[in-house]
């Protein structure tokens, strides 16, 4: 396990360094003048030059890169050109909303994925219909799912809200986690809890749909293979009920590929967050990143990219650990 941890830490460092290099190269490829954009069109050339010097844009790129790495190592990700706040502070403001959405979407994806896979493994007419739905569902882009969901559940049925994280007039609890579902429960505020839950449903479902389908397909295939194994036949011959065999033996042994797929899908889920947060006005990192891109706010873009990259590596590490727990053979690899 220590070796696995060591490998993941090295991978994390490599991924973050790679992401930083890419974002810095983008600054070179895309010609822009963030200093002028920041001080405004009417600012004097002296004011623009002073701002460029203050931001370090007057220095050669390698020197800027080295300076950035040095500061980033101490947690200083520079100030956002748009919000003027330290990027680290902005990330602290926006990350909880994204974390809450990503957690909800991940849980939903796992539940839907496992549920669909079990239904497929059970066979019959339902399985055939579900298989058709999976193929169709996987081919629908996320933004279209979002739009249809808003049209149906918000505009048509008036059942769920279309934007935001909570009803705008509610006073939000200032809890320790900044996750509204958790903090509202801790504060004993059912109004905020149900409002937050309602606002979470559509964006979480939109994000969860494609990962859930991918997990379901992988798990179903894996289950089909596992359910033909000798030890399953032995279990049946001992008179164990089919559901017990499926859950206790089948699911555990078939989980490996589905967990790998889940880890990979988490990366896609993070990418989808940018679009989903934009459509649902979800005040998270995706929305922050989107607005920062429109302003060529490279400190903010770099900071957000690093945070999302870290999340991706950490989640995949967790997947490795979960796989090792599910299948002891992996621990020795």
């Amino acid at each position: 396990m220590l070796a696995l941890l060591g490998r993941r830490v090295v991978a994390l460092a490599a991924v973050l360094l790679g992401l930083t290099v890419i974002v810095f190269l983008l600054q070179v490829v895309i010609p822009s003048d963030p200093a002028r954009a920041m001080v405004g069109a009417s600012a004097s050339p002296e004011a623009v030059a002073a701002k460029a010097a203050q931001l370090g844009y007057d220095k050669p790129l390698p020197e800027r890169f080295a300076n950035f790495l040095g500061r980033a190592a101490t947690g200083d990700l520079q100030d956002s050109l748009r919000t003027r706040n330290p990027v680290a502070d902005d990330l602290r403001t926006f990350a909880p909303a994204t974390l809450e959405l990503a957690l909800a979407a991940s849980v939903l994806a796992a539940l839907l994925g496992v549920g669909l896979a079990l239904a497929l493994a059970a066979g019959g007419r339902l399985a055939r219909v579900l298989r058709l739905m999976l193929v169709a569902g996987a081919s629908v882009p996320g933004f279209l799912v979002a739009l249809v969901a808003i049209l149906v559940f918000y505009s048509g049925l008036h059942l769920l809200p279309a934007s935001g994280r909570v009803t705008d007039t509610l006073v939000l609890p200032d809890g320790p986690t900044q996750l509204l579902l958790v903090d509202s429960l801790l504060a004993g505020d059912p109004g905020v809890f149900f409002s937050a839950l309602g606002h979470l449903v559509l964006p979480a479902f939109t994000l969860a749909l494609v990962p859930a389908l991918a997990i379901a397909r992988t798990l179903a295939t894996s289950l089909e293979r596992v359910m033909r194994e000798d030890y399953v036949r032995t279990a049946r011959s001992k008179g164990l009920r089919e559901r017990a065999i499926l859950v206790r033996h089948g699911l555990r042994n078939a989980a490996g590929p589905a967990l790998t797929m889940g880890g990979l899908q988490f990366g896609l889920l993070l990418a989808g967050i940018v679009v989903v947060e934009q459509i649902f006005s979800w005040p998270g990192l995706g929305l922050y990143l989107n607005q920062s891109i429109a302003f060529s706010d490279f400190p903010a873009i770099t900071g957000t990219t690093l945070l999302l990259g870290t999340a991706y590596v950490v989640v995949n590490f967790c997947v490795d650990v979960a796989q090792a727990a599910a299948d002891p053979r992996i621990r020795t690899v």
């Binding site: 001080v39 919000t83 459509i279 006005s281 607005q291 429109a294």
Partner: protein, 513 residues
């Protein structure tokens, strides 16, 4: 399996019913006004803020010494009850209203005004240019503020009335929370103005809350609270407005959908100074050749372009300046002549041109760009169209040879004065002169106009406009209107053409029936 599925569906149904109980009917109504923003504003600090999205947060919270009267370019007193200008146009004396208090409770005094002006100069961001001509400031008594200029500045009163002009910030920010950055950190999430609304919450990315200032010296606001919600998707804004969860969408509503609004919504159009411009890169082939540029203007029918792209939300420009800010302007000589355009294009050193347009949520600039592309093709140009962001546009001056050949975007002057348009857009060093057109004679005229006697200044601005038109370095295509889509029960819209995308929130009210 079926039993589990049934249980799951039942739980989901109960949860949805609980969560959605407030969604049965629109949230609007009562004493809260709900307005969406497409993006977060940069910062709610009047000495730093220099954008358009966010104007309303500044202007409903802070006041300057002067302002524009509704639907006009007439300058009237705001925090200044009256003002006078010395015959040599160097000394401005402002007499302040006696009954004004800042949101923090401190009274408005001449000393507070002086402190606010000094802060703008200390912060030294883009809006500071309006105070750079000041030589000295004095406060002969508690309610008199005197400014002496280094030399006459014709647009000085317009600066004072500008949307981005100096706003009087109270001592809470400038003294109590001054810190090491003149209160900039505090003012990123707080405010201390004198306006009809106070900033009571600034949740970046989510919403800003303005609360009625019950101590306001002027007409009290009708709505107790204004919630400005960050809703980045115009489609979502439209649905929420339609469903009654928003009261109004104040900009970027798709022009093509205005004709088919549902019966619970109404539209109001108001003149603004926002203009659709086509920049020409005169620093490289093919448009470094004046003859090719002259042919370019014959390639398109401006009237048709504006009508097709903007429908009823813009009109064809008639001069180099917005019509209301300069009288007797030279007319624009734009007329479609495909044969002339083809003949000029035939002489071009290269037919391949890059055409950039700035992105906008409503997509209208993309549509205008596509229409222009289709008009340039028959003339013989091979046009590559690309969308760019504003900071990229700022970067063009660094290397004009690699900048696009044509650039389509909208801009607005800082105030209703020709100098605030020409200096920033036409002069060689103008901040909005993105493709670096340069004309020394034009620059000289512009400099001469700044302190010239008013009649002579007007003639000089007209001459500058004529030179610019003749250069074909910048085409003035359309005057874009401010379009407000409102719930039927919302009335009292007050708008100033020089304050784009902005309405005064205080006079807005809801009427029943």
């Amino acid at each position: 399996m079926t039993r589990w599925l049934s249980v799951a569906l039942a739980v989901l149904g109960i949860a949805l019913a609980g969560c959605g109980s407030t969604q049965k009917k629109g949230a609007t109504g009562g004493d809260t006004l709900r307005i969406p923003y497409l993006a977060d504003m940069s910062v709610p600090d009047p000495d730093v803020f220099y954008d358009v999205e966010g104007n309303a947060v500044i202007l409903n919270q802070y006041e300057g010494l002067l302002k524009y009267a509704p639907d006009s370019t007439k300058i009237v007193g705001s925090l200044a009850r009256s003002w006078s200008v010395s015959p040599d146009r160097l000394t401005y004396t402002f007499r302040l209203r006696p009954d004004v208090r800042f949101h923090g409770g401190a009274p408005l005094t001449a000393q507070a005004v002086k402190r606010a002006f000094e802060r703008r100069l200390d912060v030294d961001q883009a809006p500071a240019y309006m105070l750079k001509p000041i030589k000295s400031m004095s406060t002969p008594d508690r309610l008199t503020f005197v400014v002496k200029l280094k030399s006459p500045v014709n647009p000085f009163e317009a600066y004072m009335a500008s949307s981005w002009g100096p706003k009087i910030i109270g001592p809470d920010a400038i003294v109590t929370h001054k810190g090491k950055d003149f209160g900039q950190t505090w003012l990123r999430t707080h405010g201390d103005g004198t306006g009809p609304y106070k900033l009571t919450a600034f949740d970046r990315g989510r919403q800003y809350t303005l609360t009625r200032n019950d101590e306001y010296w002027g007409q009290k606001a009708n709505f107790k609270r204004v919630l400005i919600k960050i809703t980045p998707d115009i489609g979502t804004q439209r649905l929420e407005l339609q469903n009654g969860d928003l009261d109004a969408v104040l900009h970027s509503f798709p022009a093509s959908e205005l004709a088919s609004l549902p019966s619970n919504l109404k539209v109001q159009r108001a003149d603004s100074f926002l203009r659709l411009l086509l920049y020409v890169n005169t620093n490289k082939p093919p448009f470094d050749d004046p003859a090719v540029r002259a042919g370019l203007r014959s390639a398109f029918d401006v009237d048709e372009l504006v009508r097709q792209a903007y429908s009823t939300t813009a009109t064809k420009s008639v001069g180099a300046y917005p019509e209301a800010i300069l009288p007797d302007q030279p007319e624009l000589p734009y007329a479609a002549d495909p044969a002339k355009a083809s003949a000029a294009a035939a002489k071009a050193k290269t037919k391949k041109i890059t055409f950039a347009y700035t992105s906008d949520e409503s997509g209208v600039q993309r549509r205008a760009g596509e229409l222009l592309q289709t008009r340039l093709k028959p003339a013989g140009f091979e046009v590559t169209l690309k969308e760019v962001q504003l900071p990229q546009v700022y970067g063009y001056l660094k290397n004009l040879k690699s900048a696009p050949d044509l650039l389509l975007m909208t801009n607005t002057p800082d105030a209703a004065h020709p100098d605030t348009w020409a200096r920033i857009l036409f002069s060689s060093t103008g901040g909005l002169n993105f493709l670096g057109y340069s004309d020394n004679a034009l620059d000289k005229d512009l400099d001469a106009a700044l302190d010239a006697p008013p009649a002579k200044a007007t003639a000089l601005y007209q001459q500058v406009g004529r030179r610019l038109i003749d250069s074909n370095s910048l085409f003035f295509l359309g005057d874009v209107k401010d379009v407000f889509v409102l719930n039927n029960d919302l009335t009292g819209v007050q708008h100033v053409p020089a304050y784009p995308w902005t309405v005064a929130y205080a006079p807005l009210k809801r009427v029943s029936g």
